[in-house]
Amino acid sequence: MSRLKTLARRDAGMPPLRGGHSLCQGCGIPMVVRTVLNSIETPVVVISATGCLEVATTRYPTTAWNVPWLHVAFENAAAAASGVESAYRALRRRGGLPQEDELTIVAFAGDGGTYDIGLQALSGALERGHRFVFVCYDNQAYMNTGIQRSGATPFGAATTTTPAGAASLGKLQQRKDMTAIAAAHHVPYVAQAAAGPHWQDLSMKAARAAKADGPAFLNVLADCPLGWGHEARLSPSIVNGAVESRVWPLYEVDEGRYRLTYRPTQTMPVADWLRTQKRFEHLFRPEAAELLEEIQHHVDKDWTALLARCAMEEGDAPPAVDQGVRRRSVNAPASSAAPVSASTTATSTATLAP
């Protein structure tokens, strides 16, 4: 638990994101935001894309942000971060900053502001090499506007623009692999993480991202109880189910080197995860049986491809998590199957809904 105490100490009664906002009861986003920001040792400046996080935390004249925070529009969080980072570098060079502190610039955007409308600005900022951390809180649809399909919406999910009906089984296209797209920019650090029980993995990745000498991208699965259709109190287990079923593998691409950071101990059938959320309920109609198979097939295929990128064989354990210096060596020797003790503890408390 020492890592959690560290986060609490950094929080020091002044959480970067405080209460008083109007995000939904049980929203998965604040945990991602606070865990990421508390994992960064330097002061932070936050940029938000338009989205749930932005509208719900800054209703004028109030604010839920204890840290400097900027929002310009929906599609340009990465461009705005580029501007802040350039200003920071220019002012630092000529001694024009109000204070000497080293800063970390962190941008938050939902999957719409990352995968879709924000992709061009993000790609440009990654290519230009600005030193900033871009965090996508990926809840797999446009939740702010009422659960519309996005490029991150998984195959088979019902949204308000891909509703399931007598003639439809929800979204019938695969989601984009945004993490791979970011990695294809050959930036120093890219990682896929999740809210919930794997918070320690997320925290470690956020700390690494902040230390990267260049752009870093974190794609963090954050559930939306309303959009996914489950009780808020089940969030930890449902996000965990995405990880355990291999729908959302946890890995990092550190200086181009892929590394699995968590490996499920047992393979959980994807259907068991889909069953926990209303957005997939139509997939359990008899006529959708083939779709379920197809989804499982895709998950298996993607998992195998990811293992290949990580140069691992099925059955290998992931290398141990290095909490300190960035690792450059090839695979560390296999250790226990569950690398993150705290996450095991948390997982045990959050059993999967039937």
């Binding site: 959690l4 004249p61 408390t349 959050a350």
Partner: protein
């Protein structure tokens, strides 16, 4: 709208200065249940603090120090993640 500020009194560009901004209470969102803790069972694991979407778990250093009911929306996540079942939801007002 008498208590609202007129346009001449606003900072340029709608800048909100943290130290001058009010922090609206969201405790009113609760619909009958609030979290209660049995401190005998609490092991200060801080998971409730970690998960709380409303930063409504108070800490004393790194020890659990209670719930801030001005902000708690009653989502029950804290009770769900508590590894020792020290937190349970009880009727509000009790």
């Amino acid at each position: 709208m008498g208590s609202l500020t007129g346009w001449r009194g606003l900072a340029p560009g709608g800048v909100v200065v943290r130290d001058e901004a009010e922090q609206p209470h969201t405790g009113g969102w609760r619909t009958g249940l609030r979290p209660a803790v049995d401190l005998e069972l609490c092991v200060d694991c801080l998971l409730c603090w970690l998960y709380c979407p409303d930063s409504a778990v108070r800490l004393d250093g790194t020890a659990f120090a209670g719930f801030d009911l001005d902000y708690c929306k009653g989502c029950e996540l804290c009770a769900a993640v508590c590894p020792t079942s020290a937190i349970e939801m009880v009727p509000d007002g009790d």
